[in-house]
Amino acid sequence: MSAASSPIIDTQVFGELQNNTGADFVIELVDTFLDEAPQLLAQMRSARAAADADSFRRAAHSLKSNGNTFGALAFAAQARSLELAVLAQVEEGALAALEEAFGQAAARLRELCHG
Protein backbone atom coordinates (compact mmCIF):
# COMPACT_ATOMS: atom_id res chain seq x y z
CA MET A 1 0.00 0.00 0.00
CA SER A 2 2.25 2.82 -1.09
CA ALA A 3 0.73 6.26 -1.06
CA ALA A 4 3.18 7.37 -3.74
CA SER A 5 1.89 5.00 -6.40
CA SER A 6 -1.74 6.18 -6.24
CA PRO A 7 -3.19 9.70 -6.21
CA ILE A 8 -3.86 11.26 -2.81
CA ILE A 9 -7.48 11.80 -3.80
CA ASP A 10 -9.11 9.57 -6.39
CA THR A 11 -10.75 12.27 -8.49
CA GLN A 12 -13.26 9.84 -9.95
CA VAL A 13 -14.66 9.07 -6.49
CA PHE A 14 -14.57 12.75 -5.57
CA GLY A 15 -16.23 13.78 -8.83
CA GLU A 16 -19.00 11.26 -8.35
CA LEU A 17 -19.62 12.59 -4.86
CA GLN A 18 -19.94 16.09 -6.33
CA ASN A 19 -22.25 14.89 -9.07
CA ASN A 20 -24.47 12.97 -6.69
CA THR A 21 -24.77 15.51 -3.92
CA GLY A 22 -23.79 18.87 -5.44
CA ALA A 23 -20.46 20.74 -5.40
CA ASP A 24 -21.56 23.23 -2.75
CA PHE A 25 -22.66 20.49 -0.46
CA VAL A 26 -19.32 18.72 -0.91
CA ILE A 27 -17.50 21.87 0.23
CA GLU A 28 -19.54 21.82 3.41
CA LEU A 29 -18.83 18.11 3.80
CA VAL A 30 -15.09 18.55 3.31
CA ASP A 31 -15.04 21.40 5.85
CA THR A 32 -16.77 19.13 8.35
CA PHE A 33 -14.19 16.42 7.69
CA LEU A 34 -11.27 18.84 8.07
CA ASP A 35 -12.78 20.04 11.30
CA GLU A 36 -13.49 16.62 12.75
CA ALA A 37 -10.62 14.43 11.54
CA PRO A 38 -7.93 16.08 13.75
CA GLN A 39 -10.13 15.30 16.77
CA LEU A 40 -10.39 11.69 15.67
CA LEU A 41 -6.64 11.49 15.13
CA ALA A 42 -6.13 12.92 18.63
CA GLN A 43 -8.64 10.39 19.97
CA MET A 44 -6.50 7.61 18.48
CA ARG A 45 -3.39 8.93 20.20
CA SER A 46 -5.02 9.25 23.59
CA ALA A 47 -6.79 5.90 23.21
CA ARG A 48 -3.43 4.30 22.47
CA ALA A 49 -1.91 5.93 25.54
CA ALA A 50 -4.83 4.75 27.68
CA ALA A 51 -4.89 1.31 26.01
CA ASP A 52 -8.58 1.91 25.15
CA ALA A 53 -8.96 -0.48 22.21
CA ASP A 54 -12.64 0.31 21.58
CA SER A 55 -12.15 4.03 21.33
CA PHE A 56 -9.06 3.53 19.15
CA ARG A 57 -10.91 1.20 16.78
CA ARG A 58 -13.95 3.47 16.50
CA ALA A 59 -11.88 6.52 15.63
CA ALA A 60 -9.87 4.56 13.04
CA HIS A 61 -13.13 3.19 11.64
CA SER A 62 -14.62 6.68 11.26
CA LEU A 63 -11.51 7.99 9.53
CA LYS A 64 -11.47 5.02 7.17
CA SER A 65 -15.11 5.53 6.32
CA ASN A 66 -14.65 9.27 5.69
CA GLY A 67 -11.49 8.70 3.67
CA ASN A 68 -13.35 6.32 1.38
CA THR A 69 -16.17 8.83 0.97
CA PHE A 70 -13.81 11.50 -0.41
CA GLY A 71 -11.64 9.13 -2.42
CA ALA A 72 -8.68 9.51 -0.03
CA LEU A 73 -8.02 5.85 -0.62
CA ALA A 74 -4.43 5.57 0.65
CA PHE A 75 -5.36 7.41 3.85
CA ALA A 76 -8.43 5.19 4.23
CA ALA A 77 -6.33 2.06 3.74
CA GLN A 78 -3.92 3.15 6.48
CA ALA A 79 -6.83 3.90 8.82
CA ARG A 80 -8.34 0.52 8.02
CA SER A 81 -5.18 -1.37 8.89
CA LEU A 82 -5.15 0.44 12.25
CA GLU A 83 -8.85 -0.33 12.76
CA LEU A 84 -8.10 -4.02 12.34
CA ALA A 85 -4.81 -3.96 14.26
CA VAL A 86 -4.22 -5.22 17.78
CA LEU A 87 -3.75 -2.00 19.73
CA ALA A 88 -0.82 -3.23 21.81
CA GLN A 89 1.11 -3.86 18.62
CA VAL A 90 0.44 -0.45 17.06
CA GLU A 91 3.62 1.62 16.91
CA GLU A 92 3.76 5.36 17.26
CA GLY A 93 5.15 5.57 13.74
CA ALA A 94 1.91 4.20 12.29
CA LEU A 95 -0.02 7.07 13.88
CA ALA A 96 2.48 9.63 12.63
CA ALA A 97 2.15 8.13 9.13
CA LEU A 98 -1.63 8.35 9.32
CA GLU A 99 -1.42 11.98 10.41
CA GLU A 100 0.92 12.72 7.53
CA ALA A 101 -1.44 11.02 5.07
CA PHE A 102 -4.27 13.10 6.50
CA GLY A 103 -2.22 16.28 6.02
CA GLN A 104 -1.72 15.44 2.35
CA ALA A 105 -5.36 14.48 1.81
CA ALA A 106 -6.53 17.66 3.57
CA ALA A 107 -4.33 19.87 1.38
CA ARG A 108 -5.54 18.18 -1.80
CA LEU A 109 -9.19 18.38 -0.72
CA ARG A 110 -8.84 22.11 -0.05
CA GLU A 111 -7.41 22.55 -3.54
CA LEU A 112 -10.23 20.57 -5.11
CA CYS A 113 -12.88 22.56 -3.26
CA HIS A 114 -11.48 26.05 -3.31
CA GLY A 115 -9.25 25.81 -6.37
Binding site: T21, E28, L29, E36, S62, N68, T69
Partner: protein, 344 residues
Protein backbone atom coordinates in the same frame (compact mmCIF):
# COMPACT_ATOMS: atom_id res chain seq x y z
CA UNK B 1 -44.12 4.74 -12.86
CA UNK B 2 -47.75 5.70 -12.44
CA UNK B 3 -47.87 5.10 -8.71
CA UNK B 4 -47.78 8.24 -6.64
CA UNK B 5 -44.63 8.95 -4.66
CA UNK B 6 -44.90 8.65 -0.91
CA UNK B 7 -42.34 10.42 1.24
CA UNK B 8 -41.11 8.29 4.10
CA UNK B 9 -40.24 9.54 7.59
CA UNK B 10 -36.74 8.25 8.15
CA UNK B 11 -34.65 8.21 11.31
CA UNK B 12 -30.93 8.36 10.65
CA UNK B 13 -28.63 7.11 13.39
CA UNK B 14 -24.95 7.89 12.82
CA UNK B 15 -22.21 9.13 15.15
CA UNK B 16 -19.82 10.40 12.49
CA UNK B 17 -20.67 13.94 11.37
CA UNK B 18 -19.49 13.54 7.79
CA UNK B 19 -21.44 10.34 7.32
CA UNK B 20 -24.49 11.84 8.99
CA UNK B 21 -24.51 14.91 6.75
CA UNK B 22 -23.90 12.86 3.63
CA UNK B 23 -26.59 10.25 4.28
CA UNK B 24 -29.12 12.88 5.30
CA UNK B 25 -28.40 14.70 2.07
CA UNK B 26 -28.78 11.54 -0.01
CA UNK B 27 -32.06 10.63 1.65
CA UNK B 28 -33.46 14.17 1.30
CA UNK B 29 -32.53 14.14 -2.38
CA UNK B 30 -34.82 11.13 -2.74
CA UNK B 31 -37.67 13.23 -1.38
CA UNK B 32 -37.89 11.64 2.05
CA UNK B 33 -37.97 13.40 5.41
CA UNK B 34 -34.96 12.81 7.66
CA UNK B 35 -34.41 13.20 11.36
CA UNK B 36 -30.81 12.64 12.48
CA UNK B 37 -29.48 11.50 15.85
CA UNK B 38 -25.94 10.54 16.76
CA UNK B 39 -26.20 7.57 19.07
CA UNK B 40 -28.20 4.46 19.92
CA UNK B 41 -29.88 5.74 23.08
CA UNK B 42 -31.15 8.87 21.35
CA UNK B 43 -32.42 6.66 18.54
CA UNK B 44 -34.56 4.62 20.93
CA UNK B 45 -35.89 7.70 22.72
CA UNK B 46 -36.82 9.30 19.41
CA UNK B 47 -38.46 6.15 18.10
CA UNK B 48 -40.61 5.88 21.22
CA UNK B 49 -41.78 9.48 20.90
CA UNK B 50 -42.84 9.67 17.25
CA UNK B 51 -43.62 7.28 14.39
CA UNK B 52 -41.11 6.53 11.64
CA UNK B 53 -41.35 4.46 8.47
CA UNK B 54 -37.77 3.37 8.40
CA UNK B 55 -34.47 3.62 10.26
CA UNK B 56 -30.99 3.87 8.77
CA UNK B 57 -28.65 2.57 11.44
CA UNK B 58 -24.89 2.72 11.86
CA UNK B 59 -23.18 -0.05 13.83
CA UNK B 60 -19.96 1.42 15.27
CA UNK B 61 -21.12 4.02 17.78
CA UNK B 62 -20.01 4.94 21.30
CA UNK B 63 -22.37 4.13 24.15
CA UNK B 64 -25.01 1.94 22.60
CA UNK B 65 -23.93 0.45 19.26
CA UNK B 66 -26.12 -0.64 16.35
CA UNK B 67 -26.21 -4.30 17.36
CA UNK B 68 -27.54 -3.30 20.79
CA UNK B 69 -30.16 -1.04 19.21
CA UNK B 70 -31.38 -3.95 17.07
CA UNK B 71 -31.51 -6.23 20.14
CA UNK B 72 -33.50 -3.66 22.09
CA UNK B 73 -35.95 -3.07 19.22
CA UNK B 74 -36.79 -6.76 19.03
CA UNK B 75 -38.01 -6.68 22.63
CA UNK B 76 -40.39 -3.75 22.14
CA UNK B 77 -43.69 -4.75 20.49
CA UNK B 78 -44.31 -1.20 19.26
CA UNK B 79 -40.96 -1.02 17.50
CA UNK B 80 -40.33 -4.61 16.56
CA UNK B 81 -41.60 -4.25 13.02
CA UNK B 82 -39.88 -1.01 12.12
CA UNK B 83 -37.79 -1.73 9.01
CA UNK B 84 -34.11 -1.11 9.65
CA UNK B 85 -31.44 -0.73 7.01
CA UNK B 86 -27.97 -1.00 8.47
CA UNK B 87 -25.34 1.24 6.89
CA UNK B 88 -21.86 0.35 7.95
CA UNK B 89 -18.27 0.31 6.88
CA UNK B 90 -17.53 -2.78 8.97
CA UNK B 91 -15.66 -5.50 7.16
CA UNK B 92 -16.74 -9.09 6.98
CA UNK B 93 -19.80 -11.10 6.11
CA UNK B 94 -20.22 -12.11 9.78
CA UNK B 95 -21.36 -8.57 10.65
CA UNK B 96 -23.91 -8.57 7.83
CA UNK B 97 -25.25 -11.92 8.97
CA UNK B 98 -25.45 -10.76 12.58
CA UNK B 99 -27.49 -7.69 11.59
CA UNK B 100 -29.90 -9.74 9.51
CA UNK B 101 -30.26 -12.27 12.33
CA UNK B 102 -31.04 -9.44 14.72
CA UNK B 103 -33.88 -8.41 12.43
CA UNK B 104 -32.39 -5.79 10.12
CA UNK B 105 -34.08 -5.70 6.75
CA UNK B 106 -30.99 -4.93 4.76
CA UNK B 107 -27.32 -3.98 4.92
CA UNK B 108 -25.56 -1.31 2.90
CA UNK B 109 -21.81 -0.84 2.83
CA UNK B 110 -20.41 2.65 3.27
CA UNK B 111 -19.83 4.76 1.33
CA UNK B 112 -23.42 4.13 0.37
CA UNK B 113 -24.19 3.90 -3.32
CA UNK B 114 -27.10 6.31 -4.02
CA UNK B 115 -28.81 3.99 -6.50
CA UNK B 116 -28.80 1.09 -4.05
CA UNK B 117 -29.95 3.38 -1.27
CA UNK B 118 -32.96 4.42 -3.31
CA UNK B 119 -33.84 0.85 -4.27
CA UNK B 120 -33.59 -0.43 -0.70
CA UNK B 121 -35.51 2.41 0.88
CA UNK B 122 -38.24 1.95 -1.73
CA UNK B 123 -38.43 -1.81 -1.17
CA UNK B 124 -38.46 -1.56 2.63
CA UNK B 125 -40.97 1.24 2.62
CA UNK B 126 -43.28 -0.62 0.25
CA UNK B 127 -43.18 -3.71 2.43
CA UNK B 128 -43.98 -1.62 5.46
CA UNK B 129 -46.93 0.01 3.68
CA UNK B 130 -48.31 -3.41 2.80
CA UNK B 131 -47.90 -4.55 6.38
CA UNK B 132 -49.63 -1.42 7.68
CA UNK B 133 -52.45 -1.94 5.18
CA UNK B 134 -52.88 -5.53 6.32
CA UNK B 135 -52.82 -4.52 9.95
CA UNK B 136 -55.49 -1.91 9.31
CA UNK B 137 -57.65 -4.58 7.72
CA UNK B 138 -57.08 -6.92 10.65
CA UNK B 139 -58.11 -4.13 12.95
CA UNK B 140 -61.31 -3.64 11.00
CA UNK B 141 -62.01 -7.33 11.03
CA UNK B 142 -61.28 -7.54 14.71
CA UNK B 143 -63.97 -4.99 15.55
CA UNK B 144 -66.64 -6.64 13.42
CA UNK B 145 -69.04 -9.30 14.56
CA UNK B 146 -67.65 -11.60 11.92
CA UNK B 147 -64.24 -11.62 13.50
CA UNK B 148 -65.66 -12.48 16.90
CA UNK B 149 -67.44 -15.37 15.35
CA UNK B 150 -64.30 -16.53 13.62
CA UNK B 151 -62.14 -16.06 16.64
CA UNK B 152 -64.04 -18.85 18.32
CA UNK B 153 -62.95 -21.20 15.59
CA UNK B 154 -59.38 -20.05 15.93
CA UNK B 155 -57.76 -19.83 12.53
CA UNK B 156 -59.50 -18.34 9.52
CA UNK B 157 -59.94 -14.70 10.52
CA UNK B 158 -62.79 -13.96 8.14
CA UNK B 159 -62.08 -16.08 5.07
CA UNK B 160 -64.49 -15.54 2.16
CA UNK B 161 -64.81 -16.29 -1.55
CA UNK B 162 -63.94 -13.38 -3.79
CA UNK B 163 -63.48 -13.04 -7.55
CA UNK B 164 -59.85 -12.20 -8.25
CA UNK B 165 -56.88 -12.76 -10.51
CA UNK B 166 -53.74 -14.35 -9.15
CA UNK B 167 -50.30 -13.75 -10.60
CA UNK B 168 -47.15 -15.80 -10.04
CA UNK B 169 -43.74 -14.65 -11.20
CA UNK B 170 -40.36 -16.30 -11.05
CA UNK B 171 -36.85 -15.65 -12.34
CA UNK B 172 -35.93 -18.38 -14.80
CA UNK B 173 -32.78 -20.32 -13.96
CA UNK B 174 -32.30 -18.35 -10.75
CA UNK B 175 -30.53 -21.17 -8.88
CA UNK B 176 -27.83 -21.38 -11.56
CA UNK B 177 -27.54 -17.60 -11.52
CA UNK B 178 -27.32 -17.48 -7.72
CA UNK B 179 -24.57 -20.07 -7.62
CA UNK B 180 -22.44 -18.13 -10.05
CA UNK B 181 -22.58 -14.84 -8.09
CA UNK B 182 -21.18 -13.68 -4.73
CA UNK B 183 -23.93 -13.56 -2.06
CA UNK B 184 -23.98 -9.74 -1.82
CA UNK B 185 -24.61 -9.50 -5.55
CA UNK B 186 -27.42 -12.05 -5.37
CA UNK B 187 -29.16 -9.99 -2.69
CA UNK B 188 -28.53 -6.80 -4.63
CA UNK B 189 -29.96 -8.34 -7.79
CA UNK B 190 -33.02 -9.62 -5.91
CA UNK B 191 -33.62 -6.25 -4.30
CA UNK B 192 -33.55 -4.41 -7.59
CA UNK B 193 -35.75 -7.08 -9.13
CA UNK B 194 -38.32 -6.81 -6.32
CA UNK B 195 -38.35 -3.03 -6.51
CA UNK B 196 -39.21 -3.20 -10.20
CA UNK B 197 -41.81 -5.95 -9.78
CA UNK B 198 -43.50 -4.26 -6.80
CA UNK B 199 -43.76 -1.11 -8.87
CA UNK B 200 -45.40 -2.86 -11.82
CA UNK B 201 -47.83 -4.77 -9.59
CA UNK B 202 -48.73 -1.85 -7.35
CA UNK B 203 -49.32 0.54 -10.24
CA UNK B 204 -51.98 -1.81 -11.63
CA UNK B 205 -53.82 -2.25 -8.35
CA UNK B 206 -52.29 -5.57 -7.31
CA UNK B 207 -50.97 -6.56 -3.91
CA UNK B 208 -47.89 -8.71 -3.41
CA UNK B 209 -48.76 -11.15 -0.69
CA UNK B 210 -45.95 -13.67 -0.79
CA UNK B 211 -42.30 -13.70 -1.64
CA UNK B 212 -40.54 -17.01 -1.83
CA UNK B 213 -36.89 -16.80 -2.82
CA UNK B 214 -36.91 -15.34 -6.30
CA UNK B 215 -40.64 -15.92 -6.82
CA UNK B 216 -43.61 -13.85 -5.83
CA UNK B 217 -47.37 -14.06 -5.73
CA UNK B 218 -49.68 -11.10 -6.27
CA UNK B 219 -53.44 -10.79 -5.98
CA UNK B 220 -55.68 -8.49 -7.96
CA UNK B 221 -59.15 -8.13 -6.43
CA UNK B 222 -58.37 -8.82 -2.78
CA UNK B 223 -58.20 -7.62 0.00
CA UNK B 224 -60.07 -4.84 -1.79
CA UNK B 225 -62.31 -5.51 -4.82
CA UNK B 226 -60.78 -4.42 -8.12
CA UNK B 227 -62.79 -3.68 -11.24
CA UNK B 228 -61.34 -5.48 -14.28
CA UNK B 229 -58.91 -7.49 -12.15
CA UNK B 230 -57.98 -9.85 -15.01
CA UNK B 231 -57.03 -6.95 -17.28
CA UNK B 232 -55.06 -5.30 -14.48
CA UNK B 233 -53.18 -8.52 -13.76
CA UNK B 234 -52.30 -9.05 -17.42
CA UNK B 235 -51.17 -5.45 -17.83
CA UNK B 236 -49.00 -5.80 -14.73
CA UNK B 237 -47.57 -9.08 -16.05
CA UNK B 238 -46.66 -7.50 -19.39
CA UNK B 239 -45.09 -4.53 -17.64
CA UNK B 240 -43.06 -6.86 -15.41
CA UNK B 241 -41.68 -8.69 -18.45
CA UNK B 242 -40.92 -5.36 -20.09
CA UNK B 243 -39.14 -4.08 -16.96
CA UNK B 244 -37.11 -7.27 -16.62
CA UNK B 245 -36.04 -6.88 -20.25
CA UNK B 246 -35.15 -3.24 -19.70
CA UNK B 247 -33.22 -4.16 -16.56
CA UNK B 248 -31.34 -6.83 -18.53
CA UNK B 249 -30.29 -4.27 -21.11
CA UNK B 250 -28.78 -2.16 -18.31
CA UNK B 251 -27.18 -5.23 -16.79
CA UNK B 252 -25.66 -6.29 -20.10
CA UNK B 253 -24.17 -2.82 -20.53
CA UNK B 254 -22.70 -3.06 -17.02
CA UNK B 255 -21.44 -6.61 -17.60
CA UNK B 256 -23.81 -8.06 -14.99
CA UNK B 257 -26.09 -11.07 -15.21
CA UNK B 258 -29.36 -10.71 -17.09
CA UNK B 259 -32.68 -11.96 -15.81
CA UNK B 260 -35.67 -13.44 -17.55
CA UNK B 261 -38.96 -13.98 -15.85
CA UNK B 262 -41.99 -16.17 -16.34
CA UNK B 263 -45.50 -15.03 -15.36
CA UNK B 264 -48.60 -17.18 -14.85
CA UNK B 265 -52.07 -15.64 -14.33
CA UNK B 266 -55.36 -17.32 -13.47
CA UNK B 267 -58.75 -15.83 -12.63
CA UNK B 268 -61.70 -17.09 -10.64
CA UNK B 269 -62.90 -17.35 -7.10
CA UNK B 270 -60.29 -17.48 -4.39
CA UNK B 271 -60.66 -18.09 -0.69
CA UNK B 272 -59.21 -14.93 0.81
CA UNK B 273 -58.74 -14.02 4.41
CA UNK B 274 -56.53 -13.71 7.41
CA UNK B 275 -54.98 -16.84 8.74
CA UNK B 276 -52.62 -17.34 11.62
CA UNK B 277 -52.81 -17.13 15.37
CA UNK B 278 -53.90 -14.41 17.73
CA UNK B 279 -50.37 -13.01 17.70
CA UNK B 280 -49.56 -13.16 14.07
CA UNK B 281 -51.96 -13.03 11.16
CA UNK B 282 -51.24 -12.96 7.47
CA UNK B 283 -53.44 -12.30 4.49
CA UNK B 284 -53.73 -15.44 2.39
CA UNK B 285 -55.42 -16.53 -0.77
CA UNK B 286 -55.88 -20.21 -1.47
CA UNK B 287 -57.85 -22.38 -3.83
CA UNK B 288 -57.83 -23.79 -7.31
CA UNK B 289 -57.24 -20.41 -9.00
CA UNK B 290 -54.07 -19.90 -6.99
CA UNK B 291 -52.80 -23.39 -7.86
CA UNK B 292 -53.59 -22.87 -11.52
CA UNK B 293 -51.64 -19.60 -11.65
CA UNK B 294 -48.64 -21.27 -10.04
CA UNK B 295 -48.78 -24.17 -12.52
CA UNK B 296 -49.09 -21.79 -15.47
CA UNK B 297 -46.02 -19.91 -14.30
CA UNK B 298 -44.14 -23.22 -14.10
CA UNK B 299 -45.12 -23.92 -17.73
CA UNK B 300 -43.72 -20.70 -19.19
CA UNK B 301 -40.28 -22.16 -19.79
CA UNK B 302 -41.54 -25.24 -21.60
CA UNK B 303 -44.03 -23.17 -23.62
CA UNK B 304 -41.30 -20.61 -24.37
CA UNK B 305 -43.69 -17.75 -23.60
CA UNK B 306 -43.17 -15.08 -20.94
CA UNK B 307 -46.82 -14.70 -19.89
CA UNK B 308 -49.35 -17.55 -19.75
CA UNK B 309 -52.99 -17.10 -18.73
CA UNK B 310 -55.96 -19.42 -18.27
CA UNK B 311 -59.32 -19.41 -20.08
CA UNK B 312 -61.11 -17.37 -17.42
CA UNK B 313 -58.53 -14.60 -17.62
CA UNK B 314 -58.77 -14.73 -21.41
CA UNK B 315 -62.58 -14.25 -21.27
CA UNK B 316 -62.30 -11.11 -19.16
CA UNK B 317 -59.58 -9.59 -21.24
CA UNK B 318 -61.57 -8.10 -24.11
CA UNK B 319 -59.89 -6.41 -27.04
CA UNK B 320 -56.53 -4.68 -27.08
CA UNK B 321 -54.35 -7.64 -26.19
CA UNK B 322 -52.33 -9.91 -28.41
CA UNK B 323 -53.51 -13.37 -27.35
CA UNK B 324 -52.33 -16.69 -28.75
CA UNK B 325 -54.21 -19.92 -28.00
CA UNK B 326 -51.82 -22.71 -27.09
CA UNK B 327 -54.56 -25.33 -26.74
CA UNK B 328 -55.29 -27.59 -23.82
CA UNK B 329 -52.37 -28.40 -21.58
CA UNK B 330 -52.03 -30.95 -18.84
CA UNK B 331 -50.79 -28.98 -15.84
CA UNK B 332 -48.76 -30.67 -13.15
CA UNK B 333 -50.90 -31.94 -10.30
CA UNK B 334 -54.18 -31.41 -12.21
CA UNK B 335 -56.35 -34.23 -13.46
CA UNK B 336 -58.21 -32.12 -16.03
CA UNK B 337 -56.40 -30.31 -18.80
CA UNK B 338 -56.61 -26.50 -18.91
CA UNK B 339 -56.92 -24.18 -21.90
CA UNK B 340 -53.76 -22.09 -21.99
CA UNK B 341 -53.18 -18.77 -23.73
CA UNK B 342 -50.04 -16.70 -24.20
CA UNK B 343 -50.17 -12.88 -24.05
CA UNK B 344 -47.54 -10.65 -25.56
Amino acid sequence: MAEAFHAAQILLVEDNRVNRLLLARQVEQLGHVVRSVDDGLQALTTLRSQPFDLMLLDIEMPGMNGFQVLEQLSTEPELRELPVIVTSGLDGLANVVRCIELGAEDYLHKPVNPVLLRARIAASFEKKRLRDQQRELVRRFATSAVAQDVQRSGFALGGHLVPASVLFCDIRGFTTLAEALPPEEVIELLNTYYTLMFDAIGSHGGVVNQIIGDGLMAIFGAPLPLEGHAKCAVRAGLEMVEMAAQFSVDQRAAGGPEIRIGVGIASGEVVAGYTGTQDRATYTCVGDTVNRAARLEACTKEAQRAVLIDGATREHLGAGFEVEALGAMQLKGKTQSVEVFAVA
